[in-house]
Amino acid sequence: MLGSVFAGIGDGFLLFLIASGLTLIFGVMRILNFSHGGYFMLGGYFVYQAVASGSPISLPLPLFVLAVVGGALAVGVVGIATERLIFRKIYRLSDIASLLGTFGLLLVIEGVAEIIWGVNPMSVPFPTALGRSIVVGGVRVGTYSIVLIAVGIVVAVGLWALLWRTAFGERARAVAEDRYVCELAGVNTALVSTSVFALGTVLAGLGGALATPLIALTPDVATAFIIEAFAIVIVGGLGSISGAMIAAIGFGVADSLAITYYPPLSGVIFFILMFVVLLVRPQGLVSNARGLA
């Protein structure tokens, strides 16, 4: 039981890293960004390219940390470029049109990745000392899962502080509530949008970069994770970072328990919970109809 719960929390925090950027971008820009999975995938491939494109034999921890940070920032640069070139044209479109547009962008990113890295599954070794497990309360727990949980907590706290304790956060929340009034008040909303979008894509890139020791890198990774991330964002409440965290951990633990105690529900429990939550609370677990929560 304890092992299942812990595994679920670890899985949940990885999903939270992806979902937090997705919900942040929605909260400010009001856009359902399907291409978010593409930025996640790029984070993984950037790390692979930096540290493991030869023979995956061993990976010193400092090199891995550098690669993860560099990969996430590089994804942020890609995010800024796409925000300026593409998303600024999408913001004012209808929800359906923007959804299709971002889905098209996801396909483009997947296609480019396939051209560059091919379709063969690739992997990155665990950084030194993190490819092991320790026993906690009689349960074997991967040290890397503990790292993921720690990073997830740091990201959650950091986002909260950034949005609620800084001038940037104040502007971002204001733009999220009423972009038009902000523009009248002289706020550079374009800059805020670009900054938030960059932050969201950095979070996606960070998630992808940190996931590399745990996944097989293929272009399809983008689609696989974005579906779960979307479910988490919807259940957590669109635009709600705290809601995304609660939903991600809840889903992770529920799925883990299902696999342990009733395997036929594995993979399905995720969507059953989503259905139930939306029936009871259509606005999501934590919601703010007019901005970030």
Partner: protein
């Protein structure tokens, strides 16, 4: 606003078109999703020495490589087009691309020797995207183009979709990579032949080894994909194991969805059975990216070290290659391992493969079994055409059912159920940080060919 909308619409359309082109590149047979070994156009794939695969698609590669040898070989007739239909893009695109690599080697070798019946051989490549609908569409296109001989295929479901059309249009299919047992039993068709060892053959081999080489194993846990073939494979293995080794029994099982992104709960579920490293074994029926992901998440929890034997059914060296030094010690139970066979055809095959550039970061010491399957499927066709003296469907089918031909695994022939009666090969790989690619493989052993008998 209108201007914005038009701009966006154009942008979205362009995005979708680009994406479609990049993900379904070979659907016309002349665009570019050939493996880099061919599309980069930098190397020969011809053991015969005359081929020069320099084109942006496999069909172009074939045309040009054949063309370069044609001038010296004196082809007398129209080029013979053979359809190659497989998944070339997406999550399992590496399977089709590696099979195409093998088919192309065979084509180049034969073209260097003058082709078949004096005709230059060309591959017409189409990407079925692992979709029965696309498969049907492309089979129809082949029929309308007058192509009656088709090879490739990774998915048994896609073969089942293609089968009625093949029978209706009198086309032949020699599958390279399909493994579902039903294709040679309940779904048997006189128009479909299979080269790869099927699940039944691999299960028989694994059960045979469980009673002989691995007779100390008492409990077999299983992990398989959560789909019909995964469940059937595990259930059949359990029955075969009970017969072959009454002292052994099946234990915990984990069926992993294809779409799973988190495998740790499945791994914990296996560990909850407290496998004994001295007497437990793991039946591992995962492949592709899912197998790699499972192993990655199992690594810190030492799952594989809890088992005396890990028997990989269907997976291959791409698994060990992706994992490098983190790869577990695994016995592969599959059809071909390049070190396992000492004959001129295998040597020529290996030599031709070595001239190819590395395939998309896949670090291999020898040709992959999917490459062997594509190669041998093509050899089957070419030998049958040569024997029949014709490319007509009925003549080629008669020849396929009767000829014995040289393959990398020695002389082989199709059995009455239309599957190649070749041995199952068992070999071992494990992570090794001192090895060139972070893993090493060794110990090839043939099991069969009696295991090729249909159920």
């Amino acid at each position: 606003m209108k201007k914005h909308r038009m701009t966006f619409a154009a942008l979205a359309a362009c995005s979708l078109v680009i994406a479609a082109c990049s993900s379904a590149g070979t659907s016309t047979g002349s665009s570019s999703t050939a493996p880099p070994s061919q599309s980069q156009g930098s190397s020969s794939s011809s053991a015969g020495g005359g081929g020069e695969t320099s084109a942006s698609s496999a069909s172009q590669a074939s045309t040009e490589s054949s063309g370069s040898t044609a001038s010296g070989s004196g082809f007398t007739g129209e080029p013979l087009k053979i359809g190659f239909l497989d998944t070339m893009t997406g999550a399992n695109g590496n399977v089709g691309q590696l099979a195409l690599q093998g088919a192309q080697i065979a084509v180049d070798q034969w073209n260097a020797q003058g082709g078949v019946l004096g005709r230059k051989i060309e591959l017409e490549v189409k990407d079925e995207e692992l979709s029965p609908d696309k498969t049907v569409q492309h089979m129809r296109e082949f029929a309308s183009e007058g192509i009656n001989l088709v090879t490739g295929f990774t998915s048994s479901a896609d073969v089942l979709a293609a089968k009625p059309l093949a029978e209706q249009n009198n086309q032949l299919i020699v599958t390279a990579g399909t493994t579902d047992t039903s294709l040679t039993t309940t779904q048997h068709s006189k128009n479909v032949y299979e080269v790869a060892a099927n699940v039944h053959m691999m299960n028989v081999a694994a059960a045979h080894l469980a009673a002989t080489e691995w007779k100390d194993t008492k409990v077999w846990d299983g992990v398989a994909y959560d789909y019909l073939t995964g469940h059937d494979a595990w259930n059949e293995f359990g029955k075969l194991l009970a017969t072959a080794n009454p002292n052994a029994k099946t234990g915990k099982t984990a069926f992993v969805p294809f779409t799973a992104t988190q495998d740790t709960p499945f791994i914990n579920s296996l560990l909850a059975g407290n496998p004994d490293p001295q007497s437990s074994a793991l039946y591992f029926f995962l492949f592709g990216g899912g197998a790699v992901q499972f192993a990655k998440q199992a690594h810190p929890l030492d799952l594989f070290k809890q088992y005396k034997v890990v028997a990989g059914i269907g997976a291959g060296e791409e698994f060990s290659s992706a994992l490098g030094a983190e790869g577990p010690h695994i016995y592969y139970v599959h059809d071909y391992f390049y070190q396992g066979y000492d004959n001129p055809v295998n040597q020529a095959f290996i030599d031709a493969w070595k001239k190819l550039p590395p395939f998309q970061g896949l670090n291999l010491y020898g040709p992959h079994e999917w490459t062997y399957e594509g190669y041998t499927a093509m050899l089957a066709y070419l030998n049958a055409i040569k024997t029949a003296g014709s490319t007509e469907t009925d003549a080629v089918r008669t020849a396929l059912s009767s000829i014995e031909f040289d393959s990398p695994m020695g002389k082989v022939k199709f059995d009455p159920s239309n599957i190649l009666a070749a041995p199952v090969t068992v070999w071992q790989c494990q992570g090794d940080s001192t090895a060139q690619f972070g893993y090493k493989c060794f110990g090839a052993e043939s099991v069969g060919p009696d295991v090729t008998l249909a159920k």
